[in-house]
Amino acid sequence: MTLSTHNKWVQRAIVWGALLVIYQLAALAAGDFYLPTLQGLVDGFVQIVQDGRLEVVAKSLEHLLVGFGLAVLIGVPVGVAMGRSFVVDQVAGMYVRGLFVTSLAALLPLLIIIFGVGFRFQVAVVFLFSVFFVIVNSAAGARDVPRALMRTAEAFCVPRRRQFTGVVLPSALPYIVIGLRLAIANAYTGMVLAELWVGVGTGGILKNMGQNRDLPKFYAMVLLITLLAALSSYAIRFAERRLMPWADEVRA
């Protein structure tokens, strides 16, 4: 393999390199008071690590994983049931659609009253921020199973239970995965927001750093969370390719 501009890694290096240069120029133009330089960012990151802040982030991620895990465990079955059953859609759909368009941030005070400000609160916020994306997309996937394929399964006497596992679920899977990817991004939003609100964990640290104008550390922290969120989304995509080889090989 020769290195040419058609190589995707060469293209990526050019784009990322250019972005770094632009950032550095912007930082120099804006000055330390608004934007730290690349060197400042790196220093900030080293300081975060030395201060042991990564452990706090790890703790926050624990809340995120529990909340997101619950959202998947509850959201996928509820969504699929909504997509396949008119009754369930009528009963649950109202609440789901209602809460989906509600500003969940407005519910935070209520959640504090119910759950306090500890573990349960953090998990509940992450859950609420992600579960509706899972439900809505799973429902869409289960609803959009091609009728021709259902009829084919029926024509070949596939039992009803196997029609569900063998036709409905694989057909809905791409939608479910899209739901998960949207959900994980929102789970991070929920995680930081909940912590900002009560001033603990990663969000709490961000709040303090912002208020103290400790910008190199602040930006390094924000970047770290952004990277983690992007990585999580990418991990789901990777899992999707392993779970759905047919979709991947078609693309190839």
Binding site: A148, L149, R151, T152, A155, F156, G166, E249
Partner: protein, 265 residues
């Protein structure tokens, strides 16, 4: 008679926002099919021929009349009847060989035997090399052959084919017609084959049933007595052209009647 239809009728109720419309798709259709024969049903689009096939298969039920296979009334799909659809209807997430296994899985056979039979039929349609491919990686003609293998793998007494080659290009269609004739000769299943293509019907079938436009009724029952295997010799024979002209006239008058009726109301 192997398959018998007795004054079968089917009406669909279409609910619009305000009005409820009744659409009579099939009216008083009666015919019988002898075991081992190849019958083509030819008619203009929208004449209810696909509906007719679904009724024979048991996927839908007639409102009027009765359908019997070997004297037994058809009430639901079963594995004595294999269906080949107009669009291949393969499961995109299953490999080719797993698609062929679809109907075999309901038969409670040992896994080895299921795989063996699926491979055997893949071989017969010339696709054994593609067993591990996904349907989307195959051409239209190959997908349709997988659909055919899937229907044959369950070893049905009757093969029901719903315009299986309708969506293919002309060359692939002719090749698959010849392949179907070859497979049919080797296995002697009863076949009911739906098509709007007169040449296809004449090339393949022992008997061509011609249907009128909606509501679908049988307007002719034509025997095709050409020797087999037919191949190109039959396609270019003068009798072929003669029969083709006859059927075309039937279809045309059948349709113009409806157009005139429509104009009168």
């Amino acid at each position: 008679m192997f398959l018998e239809l007795e004054s079968v009728g089917r009406t669909f109720v279409i609910e619009r926002r305000r009005s409820v419309q009744e659409l009579c798709v099939l009216e008083d259709v009666s015919f019988g099919v002898a075991e081992g024969s190849f019958v083509a049903i030819c008619g203009p689009s929208g004449c209810g021929k696909s509906t007719l096939l679904r009724l024979i298969h048991g996927l839908q039920k007639p409102d009027k009349g009765e359908i019997r296979v070997r004297g037994e009334r058809v009430l639901a799909p079963n594995l004595d009847r294999g269906m080949v659809f107009q669009h291949h209807n393969l499961m995109p997430w299953r490999t080719v060989v797993r698609n062929v296994e679809l109907g075999l899985e309901a038969q409670h056979l040992p896994k080895d035997e299921v795989r063996q039979r699926a491979k055997l039929w893949l071989d017969k349609v010339g696709l054994s090399e593609f067993a591990t491919y996904y349907p989307a990686q195959l051409s239209g003609g190959m997908q349709q052959r997988v659909g055919l293998a899937r229907a044959l793998a369950i070893d049905p007494q009757m093969l029901l084919m719903d315009e299986p080659f309708g969506a293919l290009d002309a060359q692939t269609r002719v090749l698959l017609q010849e392949e179907l004739e070859r497979i049919w000769e080797a296995n002697a299943k009863t076949v009911v084959f739906i098509t709007h293509d007169i040449e296809e019907a004449l090339f393949l079938a022992d008997r061509v049933l011609v249907m009128s436009a909606r509501p679908g009724r049988l307007i002719a029952d034509i025997a095709v007595d050409a020797p087999r295997p037919r191949r190109d010799a039959w396609r270019t024979a003068p009798e072929f052209a003669q029969l083709k002209g006859d059927i075309w006239k039937l279809l045309r008058t059948g349709q113009s009647e409806v157009l005139l009726e429509g104009a009168g109301t």
